[in-house]
Symmetry: D2
Subunit: 352 residues, 4 copies
């Protein structure tokens, strides 16, 4: 699948957690990257099987073995993607980093300060010394931080969409409180493990709020907005599971601050993203739809307003496995290694 | 299908707009009502066909003809259900009323003051003299008004859910501003007419905000809350189309007023509905799911709180064709004619 | 939920396997039966919970406890519905029968001769002496056998549809070999237990043949056709899992025997079923759709023909949890106890 | 989107019927082709709009205008893809061909002999002189014919899957009669035009046979099998619409001829395709799933057997817009212009 030529440097990549949905998407994208060689695919419970066994849609990569990888995979890779459960990445990453690998963590393990982990994630962070060194890999907001990083905290799916939607206006001081983020997600975000929650018979026809105002992505959204200069904003965040596979839509509500107008919000969002390859700001009140960006690394943003109540309404749609996980991780890798940021990242959706 | 016995009075019912989804659901429910005789089914474009032609799932009623009904249907019915497009009901209802029929209007034509119609519905109301006589048929909030009415404005699907969710706390003065109502609906609410919007290929995998802060149900929600004593509340309302057929979920956000606590909101909601046959208040943070009430006249309500931001979160789920349309219309008919309010109205969902 | 009056006899019913989908549907239907009292609901792993815990859509029955029921439930019920896994019914039924309860088994444990169980079901039948006493509860084909039975083998979902589709022409000697039955089913037939097979993310957009020519319903179809006089027909049966919840469609192909014409097949099917309350024979080449019979006990049958190849094509659609399981079980109960066969069985689908 | 370099020849391509689903998929694939320049996009009713207006998922191509193209588009293109309604291609293609363009027709207009069109397609063929010059563009079966062609009849979705499934065994004389092809398709095959048939509310939960034994793809399947040496086989073909967007699965049934065994069929299928880049023959009874090939040009084939009845069962899955339409058209274009046959054609599915 790789098309690199002899004179190009090649990045040796390992994917840990390769048997899950994000892991599969990483393999799909990396297989098309001209400067990447996939050197290892990790899976603990399913070690001994092959990629083809667990991801039949990746048949051309099928012979790649799934291994029970530990820190010494660092000796044979330049970058390790950790598509592991929350808590596992934090255990493993330090040893990989110490052996010299660059690490892109798709879990939430390096996105918050240490003191937030017990409350939001339910564990004491085992490697707080690395938290300060991790950069938050949302390129459209923090691009300059990424190339020099050894450890990238790849953002969560909801924070990616919500921060992209709200950051420009927040940075410009255009938004007041309260900020409400009402999110809708397909079930792939819940992972490949079968549970009642993702049973087809219980999902078709269902719309379910979950972790109401207690989802661990809440402080991540707040931190991203603070980091762009949005101040100490508090966000009420409620995700909903809808009958879809890929896709996250966030609908964000905030009162206009001061004399801000809808036009102001529209302007700063366009200014922020009109040159970005992976953000599409829609015009004329058109609203985003995650279906249109399925399979891509694109974020669509739509801007509305409730003039009667003085409320800005900004909605954003992504593919949670693309821009919300594996796509953004590859985008970060491109930045880490000096490749064109858009390499191997689809921008044309597979639609309908 | 009817099981009435000789000694029971029988209500003669006509369903106008019988070829649509709400019309079909009315026929399904009325066919099981022991005191109702369906005397006429109206459909303008499809007149000449039968109920069986357009609703094969209602085969036992199949021979019932679809007629192009005008005001004189009032001479052969006691009650006319108008499941007609917005604007058409307002044209037809006065003549039916003047001939003595009772009218239950499932369109939005008698829910607002005359001056609101041009802005929200796009037409000048043709019968403003009837607007003051119409009662708003949301029994759990306005039950006492209904039995004596000649004209019932059957509530919209979103207002039914949002008003049931918010009314108890609004009435008790527990909610501040702003009030955000983020709604998710299946596509049956868009009607049986084929359009790109409801094309399967464009709906599967899609989540689409629409009529952002401009949906005609906005003032209806506000009026219902005002009518229960909630004051002059303004609501920011954004509906979303999700890949489902039946079902509406509203997620409502409002700051606690004054020293209101989550417990206070919980208490007034329980007090309001614990004796209601068609409202289920869920406990322990359980959230509602429209799938569980599919095919029924039930509204499920779940209560959450964001203590960090002082926000009350109340969600409600209904079947938009049931409690959000035909079911509630039959409930209103039961009240109009003195039947047990729950007659012929399912409370056990068809699940999964 | 029950509406029985003092002067009617009441049947005391127990539902074993009440926490599954068929169990839930049995509770839903029985709750609406005027002559039934649900006296016990059994669930082994989930004993100690209530019906409301596992079936929130059945909230009005919510307080009913789930018990770990054994043979002594026979002492407090007149009829036991066994909605248990294959193999478990055969263990439990004899003790229930010996204590005097009538048993309706929704598993496959009493549908075949003893010698077929090892090959098709993978177990040696533990109670072969009861196999000869069980009647096959497909009323439209074997109605006369049912009222006097103590043990009813409630047919499988695929055999119900396939036998109803093929029996009239098979009985009349109109069909040659080979007989192909290509079936499509929603995932509720796979049960409530979460597995990869029924994960939403793996089911949406998927169509999967399974147990190709090796499904245990194959000999059941053949036996039903033989029992109506269709001779020693062999059936090639391939089921497919489609992205739907309820519903089975079978498409049956067989060459016309001798000088049989399409009109002959059409005639015998109409003759067989035109007076049946739960079978709808469609005309003019209209084909059945399981969506139209969702929530009901109805079977729709459509008749086609390939004149170029001399092939009869008969398709049948049912709700696998209705006519394919719980609905038919209640129909059998009605026959066992002398009630009107149609009591408490919906014929109007919940559509769309 | 194009990555061609100065020293490569560039093919100028026009897509007529660019506003439909196949047209959109053609644009998506061609945009990624390093040697193609999209010079024109045609759409009659929507001329004046842009590609971005009708295909927002193709935003990077958005400015491309939709034009009402006639024969003179041949003057500015090397190849014209006709993704037009049946009957329209046959009107337009001759003029394009006469002006020197190569034509790849995705409609059914050049796949059958002239005498078949009135019966199967309902029109008299307007250009029978071109029928004999058209080559049938199923490369895995007729690769040698394609490079020199001026006019390629791109196969239909069902014939692609059915012919790939059946051709090896048919060619080897291993199959007897009757041959049954039972197909399941997502709704994108019905096109982008909104109709009741593709209304989401009528499709979710539905499985519908249609054009039973009368679908126009029937003779196309038969001709493909005859052309590989399968003899004068007659096929009974019944397609079914299932609740999915992309994807076709065909399940093919045929008796083994003579002393053919399952192993023989397995062997010839492997021999036929093991070196093909776009056909994956599954082993060990694994069955294909169109979900796994969504977005790709791949055909998955699975082989089963009913030893009891002596029936070979071969199933094949494709993306109807990929290998079943646009993907195969690009594959044919690659052959026409001497490019690597796999250029710009995805082989890794977007899953889940």
């Amino acid at each position: 699948m790789n098309m690199q030529t002899a004179d190009q440097p090649t990045v040796r990549a390992a994917v840990l957690g390769a048997s899950g949905y994000s892991g599969g998407e990483l393999l799909r994208l990396l297989a098309g990257h001209p400067r990447v060689q996939i050197v290892a695919a990790g899976a603990s419970e399913r070690a001994g099987l092959t990629v083809g066994d667990v991801h039949p849609h990746l048949a051309p990569l099928g012979a790649l073995p799934l291994e029970d990888l530990g820190p010494d995979v660092a000796d044979r890779c330049d970058v390790a993607f950790l598509a592991l459960p929350h808590g596992t990445s934090a255990q493993l990453a330090p040893a990989l980093l110490e052996r010299g690998a660059r690490v892109i963590d798709l879990a939430g393990d390096f996105r918050l300060p240490a003191e937030e982990y017990p409350g939001w994630y339910g564990f004491e962070h085992p490697a707080p010394e690395w938290l300060g060194k991790a950069v938050y890999g949302l390129p459209e907001l923090f691009r300059a931080d990424i190339p020099g990083a050894q450890l990238v905290a790849n953002p969560g799916c909801f924070p990616t969409a919500a921060a992209l939607a709200l950051a420009p206006a927040a940075r410009a001081g255009m938004l007041g409180a309260p900020v409400i983020v009402d999110a809708k997600t397909g079930v792939s975000g819940a992972g490949a493990k079968p549970t009642s929650t993702v049973h087809y018979a219980q999902t078709e026809g269902s719309v379910r709020p979950y972790r109401v105002a207690s989802h661990q992505h809440t402080p991540e959204i707040e931190r991203a907005l603070a980091a762009v200069g949005g101040g100490d904003v508090r966000v009420t965040f409620v995700p909903h599971l809808v009958p879809a596979v890929r896709g996250v839509l966030v609908t964000c509500y905030a009162p206009f601050a001061g004399r801000t107008t809808a036009g102001d919000v529209d302007r700063v969002i366009h200014e922020a993203y009109d040159d970005e390859p992976f953000v599409r700001v829609l015009g004329d009140g058109t609203m985003p739809d995650p279906k249109r960006v399925a399979g891509t690394n694109v974020c669509e943003i739509g801007i509305g307003v409730d003039a009667r109540t003085g409320t800005a309404i900004v909605a954003a749609a992504i593919d949670n496995l693309g821009k919300g996980a594996a796509g953004q991780a590859v985008q970060n890798m491109n930045l880490l290694f000096g490749f064109d940021e858009a390499t191997a990242l689809p921008v044309l959706g597979v639609y309908p």
